[in-house]
Amino acid sequence: METPVRTTHHAEAAAAFLRDEENVDWHNETLWFVRSKRDKAAAVLPEWEDLREQASRIKNHTLSRLDDYLLELEKNAQQNGITVHWASDADEHNRIVLDIMRQHNATQVVKSKSMLTEECHLNPYLLKHGIDVIDTDLGERIVQLRNEPPSHIVLPAIHLKKKHIGDLFHQHLGTDAGATDPQYLTEAARIHLRQKFLLADVAITGVNFAVAETGGFVVCTNEGNADLGAHLAKVHIACMGIEKVIPKGEHLGVFLRLLARSATGQTTTTYSSHFRRPAPGQTMHLVLVDNGRTRQLASPDFRNSLKCIRCGACMNTCPVYRRSGGHSYHTAIAGPIGSILAPNIDMKQYADLPFASTLCGSCTNVCPVKIDIHQQLYKWRQVLGEAGAVDPAKKVGMTGMDFLFSRPGLYRFAGRAGRRLMKLFPSLANNGSLNPWAVHRDMPKPPVQSFRDWYAEQEKK
């Protein structure tokens, strides 16, 4: 089994991923298949583009009055008997969750998919404090057993093939060596997880949408694992980023249709479970987490990234993500959206991510809530450039470039000299160790004359 790539620079991690080209092609095609399914599911709705517009407007409106809607959510949730907690950052979120566990003397937790808890690194925190936490989404359980983060927000183990999973289950769940039959492996996982569900004291779920008007929330899964966990355990803790609130129940009609079609091309997610109040004998907690979101909200250039409904469509369409793998982004949320969210959390650590893009704009077009993702990548580059978070050599180079391009005479001279040099030393220009371009590609053949020289000659004639 290969060891997962852990490096802090996207380009290096991508280059490492690309070494196994056959695997890259498979990864690329698998995600493109999901994108194609999304296209088909979207194309059958004549109102698709209207739905995106509506979703975008509802989210924009909500963000413009986020404080009001959050307080409304809190009030209504409390009236329903849900205990509401506020966490300003990841640490506070983790502490709140641990405190609830301790109050209930809980040691066994089952958790359905929640990117927020990934963002907060809840699992290692709980483990450190003696709590056994089991991810119950099949893909998440797989990466948990491998001791690595998910590589995709909807398809956590999409970087792995059946063979890897067979080996992993053989090692951890005692399945037959060399088994790759999905039916057999899934059945083994099902039996393994059933035991965990039955033993759990506490169930943690994410939240896809919290409805201010009703104080309830909706959790979408394809495996029913959130429901099973939440219904069996005495305590249900739902964790959400504060941007997950929407004003009214009727808005779910817009978002649920967009989410499933954008994420996997399904017409609807298999389970869209509505939680309103704890069952008799159960307690229910809702943890509202900021962790940098209000900072993002305060920034007009980056605010609308908070519209994200975590469908993953921007990853599936991204020609970079498909060929570099989710782990190359070294952040909980990979791909284009991750690259505009992560620098808000730590500008230095994630300074490489806004550059891990060609700015092709496919992400922006595919996004169901119309986040201008590629424009924000461009804007982050400017912020990082000004903050000095970009390689200083780059800045020197760019200053030199402007010097050159604002002096037409010098530009003409440099162009002529450069072309002459390339002619004299073609092997130098095509030497990969001096010129990264030339590792896999040839340089253009330098012409005798620039366009401008030709034009000047014509004018004289």
Binding site: G385, D442, Y455
Partner: protein, 246 residues
Amino acid sequence: MKVGLFIPCYIDQFYPQVGIATLRLLQRLNVDVTFPMEQTCCGQPMANSGFEKLATGCDRNFVRNFADCDAVVGPSGSCVLHLKEHLHDEQHPAEAAHLRDNVYELCEFLTDVLKVEQLPPVRFPHRVGLHTSCHGQRGLGLSSASELMKPKFSKPERLLNMVDGLELITLAHPDECCGFGGTFCVFEEALSAKMGKDRVADHVRHGAEVITGGDMSCLMQLEGTLRRQKSPVRVMHIAEILTADV
């Protein structure tokens, strides 16, 4: 209408034949076109690297050169998009605004301003793959994008269909990025090269003899990849095909 011909720096230096073809095409369509001699670059390389603010001298030089033109036309969607979105000159804000509103990519200018329905007779009997460049497509709206559920159209394709004998091939991924991406092509060398390789393979698999497009930077990426593979497939800018018989 006085039209300024904008030939981006790398086309000027490496692909003069594209500049020549663009000029000839405009002249054949009776456009009053001049080439301001002191022009250099649109400023995109600096801006895309995070140093938009360092491109002020470059921007100013652009405004100085083109301020007296009614429209500016260039054979590069990416540079044109950059100018449309980011050209600024604090000392001449009105001129910069005028230029932002009146700078056109070549196919856009032919289709939307000149409203070309028919080209001066031109024949190009080859199987041609059209590379749809992202900035032209999604940025300038030169063609519909596969992600959007909107009516399909393509300005470059419409122009190519006016060429006698030309056969456009169908691609598996008609609007996938070529991986050039400005400085991305060196900072993410491995990834960029792989994207170029995949893009070229799509054209080759579908029988292209010639790959064309409206953006020479993407075409440079595809050409560099093809040359390294010693492929016989040629790369030509759309302006060269639209003036193929000259």
